[in-house]
Protein backbone atom coordinates (compact mmCIF):
# COMPACT_ATOMS: atom_id res chain seq x y z
CA UNK A 1 0.00 0.00 0.00
CA UNK A 2 2.57 2.56 1.16
CA UNK A 3 4.86 1.10 -1.42
CA UNK A 4 2.57 1.83 -4.37
CA UNK A 5 1.86 5.38 -3.20
CA UNK A 6 5.54 6.19 -2.95
CA UNK A 7 6.00 4.66 -6.37
CA UNK A 8 3.26 6.92 -7.65
CA UNK A 9 4.97 9.93 -6.19
CA UNK A 10 8.21 8.92 -7.81
CA UNK A 11 6.42 8.62 -11.13
CA UNK A 12 4.91 12.07 -10.66
CA UNK A 13 8.28 13.59 -9.90
CA UNK A 14 9.69 11.92 -12.95
CA UNK A 15 6.89 13.34 -15.05
CA UNK A 16 7.64 16.85 -13.78
CA UNK A 17 11.37 16.77 -14.52
CA UNK A 18 11.64 18.56 -17.87
CA UNK A 19 13.01 16.58 -20.77
CA UNK A 20 16.15 17.89 -22.47
CA UNK A 21 14.07 19.41 -25.21
CA UNK A 22 11.70 21.13 -22.77
CA UNK A 23 14.66 22.55 -20.86
CA UNK A 24 16.14 23.88 -24.07
CA UNK A 25 12.85 25.42 -25.17
CA UNK A 26 12.33 27.04 -21.77
CA UNK A 27 15.80 28.52 -22.04
CA UNK A 28 15.10 29.95 -25.50
CA UNK A 29 11.81 31.36 -24.26
CA UNK A 30 13.46 33.08 -21.29
CA UNK A 31 16.09 34.61 -23.53
CA UNK A 32 13.63 35.96 -26.08
CA UNK A 33 11.41 37.37 -23.33
CA UNK A 34 14.42 39.18 -21.91
CA UNK A 35 15.31 40.63 -25.29
CA UNK A 36 11.72 41.72 -25.93
CA UNK A 37 11.56 43.43 -22.54
CA UNK A 38 14.85 45.27 -22.99
CA UNK A 39 13.97 46.53 -26.47
CA UNK A 40 10.48 47.65 -25.40
CA UNK A 41 11.79 49.53 -22.39
CA UNK A 42 14.46 51.27 -24.45
CA UNK A 43 11.96 52.36 -27.09
CA UNK A 44 9.56 53.72 -24.47
CA UNK A 45 12.40 55.49 -22.64
CA UNK A 46 13.59 57.01 -25.88
CA UNK A 47 10.11 58.40 -26.55
CA UNK A 48 9.77 59.77 -23.02
CA UNK A 49 13.20 61.39 -23.14
CA UNK A 50 13.38 62.50 -26.78
CA UNK A 51 9.89 63.79 -27.51
CA UNK A 52 9.97 66.46 -24.76
CA UNK A 53 13.23 67.70 -26.30
CA UNK A 54 11.35 68.68 -29.47
CA UNK A 55 11.05 72.47 -29.78
CA UNK A 56 7.23 72.50 -29.90
CA UNK A 57 6.72 70.01 -27.09
CA UNK A 58 5.63 72.46 -24.43
CA UNK A 59 2.97 73.94 -26.64
CA UNK A 60 1.72 70.49 -27.60
CA UNK A 61 1.66 69.38 -24.00
CA UNK A 62 -0.34 72.40 -23.01
CA UNK A 63 -2.82 71.93 -25.86
CA UNK A 64 -3.31 68.16 -25.76
CA UNK A 65 -2.21 66.81 -22.40
CA UNK A 66 -3.47 69.40 -19.97
CA UNK A 67 -4.24 67.69 -16.66
CA UNK A 68 -6.52 70.44 -15.40
CA UNK A 69 -8.68 70.46 -18.52
CA UNK A 70 -8.71 66.67 -18.53
CA UNK A 71 -10.01 66.49 -14.96
CA UNK A 72 -12.64 69.13 -15.66
CA UNK A 73 -14.00 67.56 -18.86
CA UNK A 74 -13.57 63.81 -18.48
CA UNK A 75 -16.74 63.20 -16.40
CA UNK A 76 -18.76 65.15 -18.95
CA UNK A 77 -17.23 63.11 -21.76
CA UNK A 78 -18.14 59.88 -19.99
CA UNK A 79 -21.70 61.14 -19.71
CA UNK A 80 -21.81 61.92 -23.40
CA UNK A 81 -20.35 58.51 -24.15
CA UNK A 82 -23.47 56.95 -22.64
CA UNK A 83 -25.27 58.26 -25.72
CA UNK A 84 -22.78 56.39 -27.95
CA UNK A 85 -23.44 53.26 -25.97
CA UNK A 86 -27.19 53.70 -26.33
CA UNK A 87 -27.08 54.29 -30.06
CA UNK A 88 -24.83 51.26 -30.36
CA UNK A 89 -27.13 49.18 -28.18
CA UNK A 90 -30.20 49.73 -30.32
CA UNK A 91 -28.38 49.70 -33.66
CA UNK A 92 -26.48 46.44 -33.11
CA UNK A 93 -29.50 44.10 -32.90
CA UNK A 94 -31.18 45.85 -35.83
CA UNK A 95 -28.01 45.44 -37.86
CA UNK A 96 -27.67 41.77 -36.93
CA UNK A 97 -31.27 41.01 -37.93
CA UNK A 98 -31.19 43.04 -41.14
CA UNK A 99 -27.83 41.52 -42.08
CA UNK A 100 -29.19 38.03 -41.56
CA UNK A 101 -32.28 38.82 -43.64
CA UNK A 102 -30.17 40.23 -46.49
CA UNK A 103 -27.83 37.23 -46.37
CA UNK A 104 -30.83 34.93 -46.73
CA UNK A 105 -32.16 37.07 -49.60
CA UNK A 106 -28.88 36.58 -51.43
CA UNK A 107 -29.09 32.86 -50.85
CA UNK A 108 -32.63 32.48 -52.23
CA UNK A 109 -32.40 29.87 -54.98
CA UNK A 110 -36.00 29.49 -56.17
CA UNK A 111 -36.64 31.24 -59.49
CA UNK A 112 -39.75 32.94 -58.09
CA UNK A 113 -37.48 34.56 -55.54
CA UNK A 114 -35.09 35.94 -58.13
CA UNK A 115 -36.16 39.56 -57.42
CA UNK A 116 -35.41 38.95 -53.74
CA UNK A 117 -31.96 37.72 -54.64
CA UNK A 118 -31.39 40.65 -56.95
CA UNK A 119 -32.43 42.99 -54.14
CA UNK A 120 -29.93 41.32 -51.80
CA UNK A 121 -27.12 41.74 -54.29
CA UNK A 122 -27.98 45.37 -55.06
CA UNK A 123 -28.29 46.19 -51.37
CA UNK A 124 -24.91 44.80 -50.40
CA UNK A 125 -23.19 46.31 -53.43
CA UNK A 126 -24.63 49.79 -52.90
CA UNK A 127 -24.16 50.12 -49.17
CA UNK A 128 -20.71 48.61 -49.08
CA UNK A 129 -19.76 50.97 -51.88
CA UNK A 130 -20.56 54.19 -49.98
CA UNK A 131 -18.65 55.95 -47.19
CA UNK A 132 -20.64 55.69 -43.96
CA UNK A 133 -20.51 59.42 -43.42
CA UNK A 134 -22.03 60.07 -46.82
CA UNK A 135 -25.00 57.81 -46.11
CA UNK A 136 -25.46 59.53 -42.75
CA UNK A 137 -25.48 62.95 -44.43
CA UNK A 138 -27.82 61.96 -47.22
CA UNK A 139 -30.35 60.22 -45.00
CA UNK A 140 -29.82 62.33 -41.88
CA UNK A 141 -30.29 65.64 -43.67
CA UNK A 142 -32.35 64.44 -46.61
CA UNK A 143 -35.26 62.67 -44.96
CA UNK A 144 -36.01 65.23 -42.21
CA UNK A 145 -35.84 67.81 -45.00
CA UNK A 146 -39.16 66.39 -46.19
CA UNK A 147 -40.69 68.35 -43.33
CA UNK A 148 -41.95 65.35 -41.37
CA UNK A 149 -43.72 66.02 -38.04
CA UNK A 150 -42.09 65.12 -34.72
CA UNK A 151 -40.79 62.54 -33.84
CA UNK A 152 -40.14 61.60 -37.47
CA UNK A 153 -37.64 64.39 -37.95
CA UNK A 154 -35.39 63.04 -35.20
CA UNK A 155 -31.74 62.63 -36.22
CA UNK A 156 -31.59 59.57 -33.96
CA UNK A 157 -34.03 57.67 -36.15
CA UNK A 158 -32.41 58.58 -39.46
CA UNK A 159 -28.86 58.35 -38.15
CA UNK A 160 -29.61 54.89 -36.85
CA UNK A 161 -31.16 53.94 -40.18
CA UNK A 162 -28.00 55.05 -41.97
CA UNK A 163 -25.81 52.92 -39.68
CA UNK A 164 -28.14 49.95 -40.08
CA UNK A 165 -28.12 50.22 -43.87
CA UNK A 166 -24.35 50.33 -44.18
CA UNK A 167 -23.39 47.89 -41.46
CA UNK A 168 -26.05 45.30 -42.26
CA UNK A 169 -24.60 45.12 -45.78
CA UNK A 170 -21.24 44.12 -44.31
CA UNK A 171 -22.79 41.74 -41.80
CA UNK A 172 -24.79 40.13 -44.63
CA UNK A 173 -21.61 39.46 -46.58
CA UNK A 174 -19.91 37.96 -43.53
CA UNK A 175 -22.89 35.70 -42.82
CA UNK A 176 -23.04 34.66 -46.45
CA UNK A 177 -19.40 33.66 -46.40
CA UNK A 178 -20.23 31.63 -43.29
CA UNK A 179 -23.09 29.93 -45.16
CA UNK A 180 -20.76 29.16 -48.07
CA UNK A 181 -18.23 27.64 -45.69
CA UNK A 182 -20.61 24.88 -44.59
CA UNK A 183 -19.78 21.78 -46.58
CA UNK A 184 -22.30 20.49 -49.11
CA UNK A 185 -22.31 17.12 -47.35
CA UNK A 186 -24.11 18.71 -44.38
CA UNK A 187 -26.93 19.80 -46.68
CA UNK A 188 -26.98 16.38 -48.34
CA UNK A 189 -27.24 14.63 -45.01
CA UNK A 190 -30.10 16.87 -43.95
CA UNK A 191 -31.90 16.55 -47.29
CA UNK A 192 -31.57 12.77 -47.19
CA UNK A 193 -33.59 12.77 -43.98
CA UNK A 194 -36.47 14.49 -45.78
CA UNK A 195 -35.96 17.95 -44.28
CA UNK A 196 -37.25 20.91 -46.30
CA UNK A 197 -34.84 23.51 -47.71
CA UNK A 198 -36.03 25.97 -45.09
CA UNK A 199 -35.40 23.59 -42.23
CA UNK A 200 -32.00 22.65 -43.63
CA UNK A 201 -31.02 26.30 -43.61
CA UNK A 202 -32.56 27.02 -40.22
CA UNK A 203 -31.44 24.01 -38.22
CA UNK A 204 -28.33 22.73 -39.98
CA UNK A 205 -26.58 25.41 -42.02
CA UNK A 206 -27.25 28.70 -40.22
CA UNK A 207 -26.35 27.64 -36.67
CA UNK A 208 -22.97 26.41 -37.88
CA UNK A 209 -22.43 29.33 -40.26
CA UNK A 210 -23.16 31.96 -37.64
CA UNK A 211 -20.87 30.31 -35.13
CA UNK A 212 -18.07 30.34 -37.69
CA UNK A 213 -18.37 34.05 -38.35
CA UNK A 214 -18.64 35.33 -34.77
CA UNK A 215 -15.08 36.76 -34.76
CA UNK A 216 -15.49 38.47 -38.13
CA UNK A 217 -18.78 40.00 -37.00
CA UNK A 218 -17.19 41.15 -33.74
CA UNK A 219 -14.69 43.15 -35.75
CA UNK A 220 -17.57 44.79 -37.60
CA UNK A 221 -19.30 45.72 -34.38
CA UNK A 222 -16.08 47.20 -33.02
CA UNK A 223 -15.94 49.38 -36.13
CA UNK A 224 -19.59 50.29 -35.57
CA UNK A 225 -18.82 51.43 -32.03
CA UNK A 226 -16.37 53.94 -33.49
CA UNK A 227 -18.63 55.03 -36.35
CA UNK A 228 -21.46 55.93 -33.97
CA UNK A 229 -19.42 59.11 -33.48
CA UNK A 230 -20.23 60.08 -37.08
CA UNK A 231 -23.85 60.69 -36.09
CA UNK A 232 -22.62 63.84 -34.37
CA UNK A 233 -22.52 65.45 -37.84
CA UNK A 234 -26.31 65.44 -37.98
CA UNK A 235 -27.00 66.51 -34.40
CA UNK A 236 -26.68 64.12 -31.47
CA UNK A 237 -24.20 65.38 -28.89
CA UNK A 238 -22.27 62.21 -28.29
CA UNK A 239 -18.74 62.01 -26.98
CA UNK A 240 -16.94 63.35 -30.07
CA UNK A 241 -19.28 66.32 -30.39
CA UNK A 242 -19.10 66.93 -26.62
CA UNK A 243 -15.31 66.94 -26.85
CA UNK A 244 -15.65 69.58 -29.55
CA UNK A 245 -17.86 71.68 -27.31
CA UNK A 246 -15.30 71.45 -24.48
CA UNK A 247 -12.50 72.27 -26.90
CA UNK A 248 -14.16 75.56 -27.77
CA UNK A 249 -14.98 76.23 -24.15
CA UNK A 250 -11.45 75.69 -22.83
CA UNK A 251 -9.63 76.56 -26.05
CA UNK A 252 -7.75 73.30 -25.54
CA UNK A 253 -7.54 69.94 -27.35
CA UNK A 254 -7.23 67.72 -24.27
CA UNK A 255 -10.94 66.71 -24.39
CA UNK A 256 -10.26 64.96 -27.71
CA UNK A 257 -7.52 62.92 -26.05
CA UNK A 258 -9.98 62.09 -23.29
CA UNK A 259 -12.54 60.92 -25.87
CA UNK A 260 -9.86 58.85 -27.60
CA UNK A 261 -9.00 57.17 -24.30
CA UNK A 262 -12.63 56.25 -23.72
CA UNK A 263 -12.82 54.60 -27.16
CA UNK A 264 -9.57 52.73 -26.67
CA UNK A 265 -10.53 51.35 -23.28
CA UNK A 266 -13.50 49.73 -25.01
CA UNK A 267 -12.19 48.78 -28.42
CA UNK A 268 -8.74 47.44 -27.59
CA UNK A 269 -9.90 44.62 -25.30
CA UNK A 270 -12.73 43.83 -27.72
CA UNK A 271 -10.27 43.65 -30.63
CA UNK A 272 -7.93 41.42 -28.63
CA UNK A 273 -10.83 39.13 -27.80
CA UNK A 274 -11.97 38.94 -31.44
CA UNK A 275 -8.41 38.08 -32.48
CA UNK A 276 -8.24 35.43 -29.81
CA UNK A 277 -11.47 33.86 -31.06
CA UNK A 278 -10.25 34.03 -34.65
CA UNK A 279 -6.96 32.32 -33.77
CA UNK A 280 -8.73 29.67 -31.76
CA UNK A 281 -10.98 28.92 -34.72
CA UNK A 282 -8.10 28.80 -37.18
CA UNK A 283 -6.24 26.39 -34.94
CA UNK A 284 -9.33 24.21 -34.55
CA UNK A 285 -9.71 24.08 -38.32
CA UNK A 286 -6.11 23.16 -39.16
Amino acid sequence: MADTSSQNRAAELLAKTPTRREAYEADVRRRSNRIALISTVSVVLAIIVLVPLAPGWEAVQRAFFNGRVFAATFPGLLDAFLLNVMIFAWSAPLIALTGLAIALCRDARAPALFPVRLFGIAYTDVFRGLPVVLVIYIIGFGVPGLGLPRPWNSPYIWGTLALVLVYSAYVAEVIRSGIDSIHQSQRSAAASLGLSDRDIMRFVVLPQAIRNVVPANMNLFIALQKDVALLSFIGPVEVFRQAGVYKSLYANFTPYVGAALIFLVLTVPATRYADYLMNKQNRARS
Partner: protein, 243 residues
Protein backbone atom coordinates in the same frame (compact mmCIF):
# COMPACT_ATOMS: atom_id res chain seq x y z
CA UNK B 1 -43.41 -10.23 -58.25
CA UNK B 2 -42.37 -6.62 -58.64
CA UNK B 3 -39.21 -5.40 -56.97
CA UNK B 4 -39.26 -2.95 -54.09
CA UNK B 5 -36.89 -0.66 -55.97
CA UNK B 6 -36.29 -0.85 -59.72
CA UNK B 7 -33.89 1.06 -61.91
CA UNK B 8 -34.15 1.03 -65.68
CA UNK B 9 -31.69 2.73 -68.01
CA UNK B 10 -30.61 5.24 -65.35
CA UNK B 11 -28.19 7.83 -66.68
CA UNK B 12 -26.42 10.57 -64.79
CA UNK B 13 -23.81 13.01 -65.99
CA UNK B 14 -21.75 15.70 -64.32
CA UNK B 15 -20.94 18.16 -67.08
CA UNK B 16 -19.12 16.17 -69.74
CA UNK B 17 -18.56 13.17 -67.53
CA UNK B 18 -21.22 10.48 -67.72
CA UNK B 19 -21.05 8.64 -64.41
CA UNK B 20 -24.04 6.29 -64.80
CA UNK B 21 -24.40 4.94 -68.31
CA UNK B 22 -27.72 3.16 -68.25
CA UNK B 23 -28.09 1.20 -65.03
CA UNK B 24 -30.67 -1.59 -64.69
CA UNK B 25 -31.10 -2.93 -61.19
CA UNK B 26 -33.80 -4.63 -59.11
CA UNK B 27 -33.83 -4.70 -55.34
CA UNK B 28 -36.43 -7.05 -53.84
CA UNK B 29 -38.22 -6.51 -50.54
CA UNK B 30 -35.92 -7.52 -47.68
CA UNK B 31 -33.00 -8.07 -50.02
CA UNK B 32 -29.45 -6.94 -49.49
CA UNK B 33 -27.67 -5.82 -52.64
CA UNK B 34 -23.97 -4.97 -52.67
CA UNK B 35 -22.35 -2.66 -55.20
CA UNK B 36 -18.66 -3.30 -55.73
CA UNK B 37 -16.24 -1.72 -58.14
CA UNK B 38 -13.15 0.42 -58.47
CA UNK B 39 -12.93 3.92 -57.10
CA UNK B 40 -14.73 6.31 -59.45
CA UNK B 41 -16.90 3.61 -61.01
CA UNK B 42 -20.02 5.46 -59.87
CA UNK B 43 -21.18 3.58 -56.74
CA UNK B 44 -21.77 6.66 -54.61
CA UNK B 45 -23.46 8.50 -57.45
CA UNK B 46 -25.81 5.60 -58.09
CA UNK B 47 -26.82 5.47 -54.42
CA UNK B 48 -27.37 9.23 -54.35
CA UNK B 49 -29.58 8.93 -57.42
CA UNK B 50 -31.70 6.27 -55.71
CA UNK B 51 -32.92 8.62 -52.99
CA UNK B 52 -33.01 11.62 -55.32
CA UNK B 53 -30.09 13.49 -53.80
CA UNK B 54 -28.93 13.72 -57.41
CA UNK B 55 -31.55 14.19 -60.12
CA UNK B 56 -31.07 11.62 -62.88
CA UNK B 57 -30.82 12.68 -66.53
CA UNK B 58 -32.56 9.75 -68.11
CA UNK B 59 -34.18 6.43 -67.26
CA UNK B 60 -36.68 5.55 -64.56
CA UNK B 61 -36.63 4.61 -60.89
CA UNK B 62 -39.66 2.82 -59.43
CA UNK B 63 -40.37 2.54 -55.74
CA UNK B 64 -43.15 0.01 -55.08
CA UNK B 65 -44.20 0.39 -58.68
CA UNK B 66 -44.41 4.19 -58.52
CA UNK B 67 -42.16 6.27 -60.76
CA UNK B 68 -40.16 8.46 -58.40
CA UNK B 69 -37.79 9.80 -61.04
CA UNK B 70 -40.36 12.06 -62.70
CA UNK B 71 -38.55 15.39 -63.13
CA UNK B 72 -40.07 18.06 -60.92
CA UNK B 73 -41.46 15.60 -58.41
CA UNK B 74 -41.13 16.62 -54.75
CA UNK B 75 -38.21 14.51 -53.49
CA UNK B 76 -38.96 14.90 -49.77
CA UNK B 77 -41.51 12.08 -49.31
CA UNK B 78 -39.23 9.72 -51.25
CA UNK B 79 -36.23 10.58 -49.12
CA UNK B 80 -38.23 9.80 -46.01
CA UNK B 81 -38.76 6.28 -47.34
CA UNK B 82 -35.18 5.75 -48.48
CA UNK B 83 -32.52 6.50 -45.85
CA UNK B 84 -28.83 6.87 -46.62
CA UNK B 85 -25.68 6.66 -44.52
CA UNK B 86 -22.47 8.21 -45.79
CA UNK B 87 -18.83 7.25 -45.62
CA UNK B 88 -17.97 10.40 -43.68
CA UNK B 89 -20.89 10.14 -41.18
CA UNK B 90 -21.99 13.75 -41.83
CA UNK B 91 -23.44 14.17 -38.36
CA UNK B 92 -24.46 17.72 -37.49
CA UNK B 93 -21.55 18.86 -35.30
CA UNK B 94 -23.54 21.48 -33.37
CA UNK B 95 -26.09 18.97 -32.04
CA UNK B 96 -25.81 16.12 -29.58
CA UNK B 97 -26.22 12.57 -30.86
CA UNK B 98 -29.82 12.53 -29.63
CA UNK B 99 -30.60 15.91 -31.24
CA UNK B 100 -29.11 14.66 -34.51
CA UNK B 101 -31.46 11.70 -34.42
CA UNK B 102 -34.56 13.65 -33.37
CA UNK B 103 -34.26 16.59 -35.79
CA UNK B 104 -35.94 14.99 -38.79
CA UNK B 105 -38.75 13.24 -36.88
CA UNK B 106 -39.46 16.52 -35.10
CA UNK B 107 -39.48 18.71 -38.18
CA UNK B 108 -40.85 16.31 -40.78
CA UNK B 109 -43.22 14.23 -38.67
CA UNK B 110 -44.03 17.01 -36.23
CA UNK B 111 -43.32 14.82 -33.19
CA UNK B 112 -42.26 16.40 -29.91
CA UNK B 113 -39.00 15.64 -28.12
CA UNK B 114 -40.93 14.09 -25.25
CA UNK B 115 -42.79 11.71 -27.54
CA UNK B 116 -39.58 10.80 -29.33
CA UNK B 117 -37.24 10.38 -26.39
CA UNK B 118 -38.34 6.85 -25.34
CA UNK B 119 -38.24 5.54 -28.90
CA UNK B 120 -34.90 7.15 -29.61
CA UNK B 121 -33.48 5.84 -26.34
CA UNK B 122 -34.56 2.38 -27.42
CA UNK B 123 -32.75 2.77 -30.74
CA UNK B 124 -29.57 3.93 -29.04
CA UNK B 125 -29.80 1.02 -26.63
CA UNK B 126 -30.24 -1.43 -29.48
CA UNK B 127 -26.92 -0.29 -30.93
CA UNK B 128 -25.15 -0.08 -27.57
CA UNK B 129 -25.01 3.70 -27.37
CA UNK B 130 -27.55 4.60 -24.68
CA UNK B 131 -24.84 6.23 -22.57
CA UNK B 132 -23.67 8.40 -25.47
CA UNK B 133 -26.96 10.06 -26.40
CA UNK B 134 -26.07 13.47 -25.06
CA UNK B 135 -22.52 13.58 -26.41
CA UNK B 136 -21.52 15.82 -29.30
CA UNK B 137 -20.18 14.09 -32.42
CA UNK B 138 -16.59 15.22 -31.78
CA UNK B 139 -16.74 13.47 -28.41
CA UNK B 140 -17.49 10.13 -30.07
CA UNK B 141 -15.24 7.61 -31.81
CA UNK B 142 -15.61 7.07 -35.54
CA UNK B 143 -17.46 3.81 -35.01
CA UNK B 144 -19.82 5.44 -32.55
CA UNK B 145 -20.42 8.38 -34.89
CA UNK B 146 -21.23 6.03 -37.74
CA UNK B 147 -23.67 4.10 -35.56
CA UNK B 148 -25.35 7.37 -34.59
CA UNK B 149 -25.63 8.21 -38.29
CA UNK B 150 -27.33 4.86 -38.86
CA UNK B 151 -29.70 5.49 -35.96
CA UNK B 152 -30.44 8.93 -37.38
CA UNK B 153 -31.50 7.39 -40.69
CA UNK B 154 -33.47 4.61 -39.00
CA UNK B 155 -35.38 7.08 -36.82
CA UNK B 156 -37.34 8.13 -39.92
CA UNK B 157 -38.45 4.49 -40.25
CA UNK B 158 -37.33 4.15 -43.87
CA UNK B 159 -38.37 1.21 -46.02
CA UNK B 160 -34.99 1.02 -47.73
CA UNK B 161 -31.53 1.85 -46.40
CA UNK B 162 -28.59 2.85 -48.58
CA UNK B 163 -25.06 2.57 -47.20
CA UNK B 164 -22.15 4.24 -48.96
CA UNK B 165 -18.89 2.61 -47.86
CA UNK B 166 -19.81 3.26 -44.29
CA UNK B 167 -16.78 1.45 -42.87
CA UNK B 168 -14.01 2.83 -45.07
CA UNK B 169 -13.33 5.92 -42.95
CA UNK B 170 -13.01 3.79 -39.82
CA UNK B 171 -9.99 2.36 -38.03
CA UNK B 172 -9.86 -1.39 -38.64
CA UNK B 173 -10.77 -2.25 -35.06
CA UNK B 174 -13.99 -0.19 -35.33
CA UNK B 175 -15.22 -1.79 -38.55
CA UNK B 176 -16.63 -4.83 -36.76
CA UNK B 177 -19.06 -2.89 -34.56
CA UNK B 178 -20.56 -1.16 -37.59
CA UNK B 179 -20.83 -4.35 -39.63
CA UNK B 180 -22.64 -5.93 -36.67
CA UNK B 181 -25.26 -3.22 -37.01
CA UNK B 182 -25.75 -4.18 -40.64
CA UNK B 183 -26.08 -7.87 -39.71
CA UNK B 184 -28.70 -6.88 -37.18
CA UNK B 185 -30.65 -4.89 -39.77
CA UNK B 186 -30.39 -7.74 -42.24
CA UNK B 187 -31.96 -10.06 -39.69
CA UNK B 188 -34.81 -7.61 -39.15
CA UNK B 189 -35.53 -7.87 -42.88
CA UNK B 190 -34.51 -4.34 -43.87
CA UNK B 191 -34.13 -3.78 -47.61
CA UNK B 192 -30.59 -2.56 -48.15
CA UNK B 193 -28.23 -1.42 -50.87
CA UNK B 194 -24.56 -1.13 -49.96
CA UNK B 195 -21.56 0.24 -51.76
CA UNK B 196 -18.73 -1.60 -50.09
CA UNK B 197 -15.11 -2.64 -50.16
CA UNK B 198 -15.74 -5.31 -47.52
CA UNK B 199 -15.77 -8.29 -49.87
CA UNK B 200 -15.92 -10.81 -47.04
CA UNK B 201 -19.00 -9.13 -45.69
CA UNK B 202 -20.66 -8.97 -49.10
CA UNK B 203 -19.95 -12.62 -49.66
CA UNK B 204 -21.38 -13.56 -46.27
CA UNK B 205 -24.63 -11.61 -46.35
CA UNK B 206 -25.53 -10.24 -49.79
CA UNK B 207 -28.38 -11.69 -51.84
CA UNK B 208 -26.92 -10.09 -54.91
CA UNK B 209 -23.60 -8.50 -55.80
CA UNK B 210 -23.25 -6.01 -58.66
CA UNK B 211 -19.89 -5.17 -60.18
CA UNK B 212 -19.82 -1.58 -61.41
CA UNK B 213 -17.31 -0.62 -64.03
CA UNK B 214 -17.12 2.86 -65.54
CA UNK B 215 -20.78 3.63 -64.93
CA UNK B 216 -22.20 0.27 -66.01
CA UNK B 217 -23.24 -2.82 -64.10
CA UNK B 218 -20.94 -5.19 -65.91
CA UNK B 219 -21.97 -8.27 -64.04
CA UNK B 220 -24.37 -9.19 -61.27
CA UNK B 221 -25.43 -12.30 -59.44
CA UNK B 222 -25.48 -14.12 -56.14
CA UNK B 223 -22.17 -13.78 -54.26
CA UNK B 224 -21.27 -17.47 -54.63
CA UNK B 225 -21.35 -17.18 -58.40
CA UNK B 226 -19.87 -13.73 -58.79
CA UNK B 227 -16.97 -14.20 -56.41
CA UNK B 228 -16.23 -17.81 -57.32
CA UNK B 229 -16.79 -17.76 -61.05
CA UNK B 230 -16.87 -14.26 -62.54
CA UNK B 231 -17.63 -14.26 -66.25
CA UNK B 232 -16.12 -10.95 -67.30
CA UNK B 233 -12.39 -10.40 -67.53
CA UNK B 234 -12.65 -7.00 -65.83
CA UNK B 235 -14.55 -8.49 -62.90
CA UNK B 236 -11.85 -11.13 -62.57
CA UNK B 237 -9.14 -8.48 -62.64
CA UNK B 238 -10.91 -6.36 -60.03
CA UNK B 239 -11.55 -9.30 -57.72
CA UNK B 240 -8.00 -10.55 -57.97
CA UNK B 241 -6.84 -7.10 -56.89
CA UNK B 242 -9.11 -6.81 -53.84
CA UNK B 243 -9.49 -10.36 -52.59
Amino acid sequence: MTAKLSLRGVRKRFGDLEVCKGIDLDVGEGEMVCLIGASGSGKSTLLRCMNLLEPIDDGTIWLDGTDISEPGLDPQPVRQKIGIVFQSFNLFPHMTAAENVMLAPRRVRGLSRDTLRPRVTQLFARFGLEDRMDYYPDQLSGGQQQRVAIIRALAMEPEIMLFDEITSALDPELVGEVLDVLRDLRQQGMTMVLATHEMGFARELADKVCFLDAGRILEQGPPETLFAAPREARTKAFLSRVL
